[in-house]
């Protein structure tokens, strides 16, 4: 039960029931689609970047409590961050959810996102927690590739 409380913290349940920044975004400069074939979860992410800074981001889609809450909290955490800062945060987040139980996690800069540390106990759910972040990574790197070809 303690593992379960650790995983489904109030913050996660709250965000999964009423996700923030849910819906379409006006004037998006980057979009990404994430898909988890294991469960059929889908996320559609729209981002507006100006001068390397994420001005706004919103998401749509359906998923489990973990993936929905993760997308919701990600959109909150990345508002106003630079793309480079966002990628760095993804790296830290990924490290946190894949650090084996019992080992210390580096939670500096993760703030509210530390609520996902309980995912470590359920390795099969790591994909749920990182789906939105992978989608973000694809969305921002896809555009840099497109930029190269132009």
């Amino acid at each position: 039960m303690s593992d379960l409380r650790e995983l489904y913290q109030e913050v996660i349940l709250g965000h999964s029931k009423s996700p923030r920044n849910f819906g379409k975004l006006e004037g998006a400069t980057h979009t990404g689609v994430g898909f988890n074939p294991l469960c059929g979860d889908k996320i559609h992410l729209q981002i507006r970047v100006r001068d390397g800074v994420i001005e706004a981001l919103r998401f749509e889609g359906s998923g489990c409590a973990i993936s929905t809450a993760s997308a919701s909290l990600m959109t909150e955490a990345l508002q106003g961050k630079t793309v480079a800062e966002a990628e760095a945060l993804f790296k830290k987040f990924h490290e946190m959810v894949t650090t084996p139980m019992g080992q210390p996690i580096d939670d500096a800069a993760l703030n509210k996102l530390t609520v996902f540390s309980g995912v470590r106990e359920f390795p099969v759910r790591v994909k749920c927690a990182t789906l939105a972040w992978h989608t973000l990574h694809n969305a921002v790197s896809e555009t840099s590739e497109t930029a190269k070809t132009e």
Binding site: M1, D3, L4, L7, Y8, L13, L38, C39, G40, D41, S62, G63, C64, A65, I66, F122, R125, C128
Partner: protein
């Protein structure tokens, strides 16, 4: 020699059932994915590797001859299990998937041509869809799908309507893995045969729940996996009627499936060996024989009665959860409980139950078209076997109430 039905005693035959998961007694309700193994199967496997191991069919030494005999004797056990007329009709493969691929590639490629139609049903597992799609791409045949109703029951009239003069093969699931629906395969086979169309039955989910008699069904091919029938993983069976198997070209080439090889010409072995290229899972097949022997000691009708009562009990218990919606309510069904809970994702249900020591499956069950039909991405599925108990159903029910409490 059948024993009277004693559930507590029977459970002791399965060492896995005494294990724990996340510190709780394991409640294994994922039997449609795979079943647990009785001790006799585990022992047979290790005994063969420890003291009897040799390759089969070619050795002149005693060990190899004994291994060959042990391996081939399982063919006869399978023949008896399926009520086939000859062990030559029993081909060992890796599993149901390989059996279907074998028929698609060997029979399909040699007998079907451009414009021919293959008929399947709306409730197939991916393994009875994709091999036919591959064949269709290769030869320009067309895949047709017989529809089902909202209960997950095949529509017989629609099935019959789909049998056209162009239909050259029918491949149907006996029991749906995602819904539990039992198809009236005998009737479907008669409809196809009246038009001269051969039929393959995917029996992966049927063999552990229903008695199967391939001659009574009158099917042309029947496929199933040992691991869903309390045997080892990596072994499957393709039953094929002699008249159909005989002219079929080999599926794979290699050792063991030939009579003689020169660089100019190869003479193939007779059936079933023609379809068994390379060294098979010898130990797996032999241990599967132990599983069949074990099943023969059990009181089949008593097990079926127990499972039917358990299904009824579980359906009633879970039905009391207001947020629960059943997916798959066919009148004729096996002990598969597939459902969605309003507002709760199946993976979250799976995780909560996991912490209670309950193993169920959450996902599309390799039947995405079935999920699409019901307008969902995934279901939660508890699938029972004869070794499950009412107490386990009570714990599942309690677990689901907890899910509703957390997410409701």
């Amino acid at each position: 020699m059948t024993q009277p039905f004693d559930l507590a005693r029977l459970r002791q035959d399965f060492p896995m059932l005494a294990q724990t998961m996340r510190g709780k007694p394991l409640i294994y309700l994922d039997n449609a994915a795979s079943t647990q193994k009785p001790q006799v199967v585990i022992e047979r496997l290790t005994k063969f590797y420890r003291s009897e191991y040799a390759n089969i069919h070619r050795g002149v030494y005693e060990l190899s001859q004994n291994a060959t005999q042990a391996y081939e004797s399982v063919r006869e056990k399978v023949k008896n299990f399926l009520h086939a007329s000859s062990e030559r009709e029993i081909v060992f493969v890796r599993g149901t998937t390989e059996a279907i691929n074998l028929v698609a590639q060997s029979y399909g490629r040699s007998k079907l041509k451009v414009g021919d139609e293959i008929l399947i049903t709306a409730m197939e597992h991916h393994s009875n869809i994709v091999p036919w799609q591959l064949l269709c791409e290769q030869i320009g045949a067309v895949l047709r799908v017989a529809p089902m109703n909202q209960n997950g029951e095949l529509l017989l009239d629609e099935f019959e309507k789909k049998l056209s003069p162009k239909t050259k093969f029918v491949s149907i699931v006996h029991v749906s893995n995602a819904l539990g629906s039992i198809n009236p395969v005998k009737k479907l086979i008669a409809l196809a045969h009246a038009r001269g169309i051969p039929v393959l039955v995917d029996g992966a989910q049927a063999v552990s729940h229903l008695p199967v008699d391939v001659q009574d069904l009158d099917c042309d091919f029947y496929a199933f996996s040992a691991h869903k029938l309390f045997g080892p993983s990596g072994v499957g069976v393709l039953y094929g009627r002699t008249e159909l198997l005989n002219p079929m070209p080999p599926y794979q080439g290699g050792g063991d499936m030939i009579l003689s090889v020169t660089f100019e010409k190869t003479l193939f072995h007779e059936i079933p060996h023609k379809f068994e290229a390379g060294t098979p899972d010898i130990a797996g097949v032999i241990a599967f024989g132990a599983a069949l022997d074990y099943l023969a000691t059990l009181d089949g009708p008593a097990l079926q009665k127990h499972e039917a009562e358990l299904l009824e009990y579980a359906t009633k218990q879970l039905d009391a959860i207001p947020q629960l919606r059943w997916i798959g309510t066919a009148k004729e069904k096996t002990s598969v409980l597939s459902f969605v809970l309003d507002g709760v994702h199946p993976h979250d249900i799976g995780t909560v139950l996991d912490t209670e020591g309950i193993a169920i499956r959450a996902g599309h069950h390799c039947a995405q078209p079935v999920m699409d039909f019901f307008g969902i991405n995934a279901t939660t599925r508890a699938s029972l076997a004869f070794y499950n108990t009412r107490e386990e159903i009570d714990r599942l029910t309690a677990g689901l109430h907890k899910v509703v409490e957390i997410f409701g």
